[in-house]
């Protein structure tokens, strides 16, 4: 098409079409295809970041105002009004560490659920792997989690400086835990995004249902109250159900990385002695077998991701005409 020498050959010869197989034009290999087309994914993530607050005067600052107000509300209610008896050291860090992941998860699922509908103009006209959209939503939310993570690190350092506890020094086990927490949210967030986005195209009420349940997520994780309360007050079966929540697991993992080292010498959490003599005894900070639970959860997440991909591949066929 341009004027250089080799281009004078007909396309058939130039592209050696005799050796290109005939294939369905819409063939994709699912989520894997998304990572094969990293360049397009990068452009889409960048666009999404740019477009989210397009036209607002504060721009990116809005991604801090929301979490900040939520943090202050929770801190005021649970830390100052109700929290006196909960026996948590460095409650603000305990809360904020959890909120980083909870925000990441809720943002991923909310944006992921809407991702296909909000890109319908492109989907109806261009052939490309449509898994791209929920995956891009997940990565955009991850990008928004980065500044919160920086604030968290700063808060940890400052607490070590002025607080009663030791200096905050990241330990390998703790950082591994925090990393595993992030991976858990990524996997579960992507799986939910894939599943919900295509269901939402077929059944438009779905995003409202998701929104209703997403509001419950912050309360189902041990961040505004200590873990021992659930262990203390739920019967055994319901305690296990509580811990089967991947977000609750991830929150404990990130707290292990950031909150736990800020108070390692002191008891991080204390509870009234169960025998009722009115003394205060150290309480478990996290569920037992925290890492084992984490890895099992990761395996479950990967299975869910495969299931999500299979459902997506099935439902995706009819998506363009339903948009």
């Amino acid at each position: 098409m341009s004027q250089s020498g080799t281009d004078a050959l007909p396309v058939e010869v130039r592209h050696d079409l005799a050796h290109v197989p005939l294939a369905p034009p819409s063939r994709t290999s699912g989520v894997l295809e998304v990572f094969r087309r990293r360049y397009l994914l990068r452009l889409m993530v960048r666009r999404e970041i740019k477009a989210r607050y397009a036209g607002t005067a504060f721009g990116l600052i809005w991604s801090y105002i929301n979490p900040l107000t939520r943090f202050l509300t929770f801190y005021a209610v649970f830390g100052l009004l109700l929290g006196r008896g909960l026996g948590l050291e460095n409650f603000a860090i305990h809360l904020f560490a959890g909120m980083v992941l909870v925000n990441y998860f809720t943002e991923t699922v909310t944006a992921g659920t809407r991702s296909l509908l909000s890109n319908k103009g492109v989907i109806a006209k261009m052939a490309m792997p449509r898994e791209m959209f929920p995956v891009a939503s997940m990565l955009v939310s991850l990008w928004h989690a980065v500044p919160q993570l920086i604030i968290l690190v700063a808060a940890c350092l400052l607490t070590g400086w002025w607080g009663d506890g030791p200096m905050w020094v990241p330990d390998a086990v703790g950082m591994g835990a925090a990393f595993l927490g992030f991976v858990l949210i990524m996997v579960f967030g992507t799986a939910c995004g894939l599943l919900f986005s295509c269901i939402n195209v077929i059944f438009r009420d779905f995003q409202r249902i998701v929104q209703t349940f997403i509001n419950m997520i912050p309360f189902t994780t041990p961040m505004m109250y200590p873990y021992w309360i659930t262990y203390d007050r739920f019967p055994n079966f319901w305690h296990e159900v509580y811990l089967a929540n991947p977000v609750a697991e991830a929150v404990q993992l990130i707290q292990r990385g950031f909150w736990y080292p800020t108070c390692a010498d002191l008891p991080c959490a204390t509870m009234p002695n169960p025998n009722g003599d009115g003394t205060i005894i150290p309480a478990p900070e996290f569920a037992d077998h925290l890492f084992t639970r984490g890895f099992i959860m990761l395996a479950v997440g990967l299975v869910l991701l495969v299931v999500g991909q299979m459902v997506f591949a099935r439902l995706e066929k009819s998506i363009p005409e339903r948009l």
């Binding site: 098409m1 007909p10 058939e12 290109v20 034009p25 819409s26 363009p320 339903r322």
Partner: protein, 264 residues
């Protein structure tokens, strides 16, 4: 000659309504209406295209042309039968492609090129060509939401024609462009055709199909009504004849355009 496109016994159905409310569903159940809510946009369509052929796809409104293009380009999948293609596909399904209104023209060029399978290096190398073809001037760095419909269409077409593709799809591309742009498009499509790219061209203008294509497929209510030479297709559609047909004036203009296009 290799085969470029195979459409084998393809059927595609749509529903009249995809999102009935609960109330309607219950009403339908209670009244036991025989709900006949599907229609076939394409019904057992079959044909083959050789590499380098240029096909004019014709038919009245609602005959299934756009659905067929969406199946060939891979946007939709057939309910029954199969569609097979060889090589990279580029083109436009309706004008303006998938642009994001809030992005600038520049960003949209990169985005659109990436969706059509071009790498960053490829786009960088062709960027100046694309920009000069689109000819939107200073608007290149403003959001495409502010573009006029003509500029919007030009940008979409400019990206699509610069993809190094094997199959090119053009859906009513000339519908919104002004005269100079039409000329530029015709010239470009001629080059595309001559470079051996398979072309799939949708148009209602008998004149432009006659000049651009060496074979025509006429869709008639979702089935292949006619498949063969262009003159036969025009006769089949009764697009010939009547002197007072508005098309005749256009086709003489088209011929002038064509003459001009070859001068450029």
């Amino acid at each position: 000659m290799t085969t470029s496109i195979v459409v084998d016994d393809v059927t595609k159905s749509f529903r009249y309504q995809y999102h009935p409310t609960l109330k309607k569903l219950v009403q339908g159940k209670v009244r036991r209406q025989a709900s006949q809510d599907e229609f076939k946009a394409l019904d057992r369509v079959s044909f083959e295209v050789k590499q380098g052929e240029s096909i004019g796809l014709m038919g009245l409104n609602g005959s299934g042309k756009s659905t067929l293009l969406k199946l060939v380009s891979g946007v939709m999948r057939p309910d029954e039968g199969q569609v097979l293609t060889r090589g990279r596909i580029s083109g436009l399904i309706a004008t303006g492609a998938g642009f994001h209104n809030e992005l600038t023209g520049r960003d949209n060029i990169y985005m659109n090129a990436a969706m059509l399978g071009m790498s960053k290096e490829e786009t960088d190398a062709k960027f100046d060509d694309i920009a000069s073809f689109a000819d939107v001037g200073r608007f290149l760095d403003t959001p495409v939401g502010n573009y006029s419909s003509g500029m919007f269409a030009r940008l979409g077409f400019a990206v699509a024609v610069h993809v190094d593709c094997d199959i090119f799809i053009a859906d009513e591309v000339l519908a919104v462009g002004d005269r100079p742009f039409k000329r530029k498009c015709l010239k470009r499509m001629k080059e595309i055709r001559e470079s051996g790219i398979t072309m799939f061209y949708v148009s209602h203008s008998a004149g432009s199909v006659k000049r651009m294509c060496d074979r025509a497929i006429v869709l008639d209510k979702g089935t292949v009504g006619f498949d063969g030479d262009v003159d036969g297709a025009i006769k089949y559609l009764h697009y010939d004849g009547d002197d007072d047909e508005p098309d005749s004036e256009e086709s003489s203009e088209d011929e002038r355009d064509d003459a001009l296009a070859s001068d450029i």
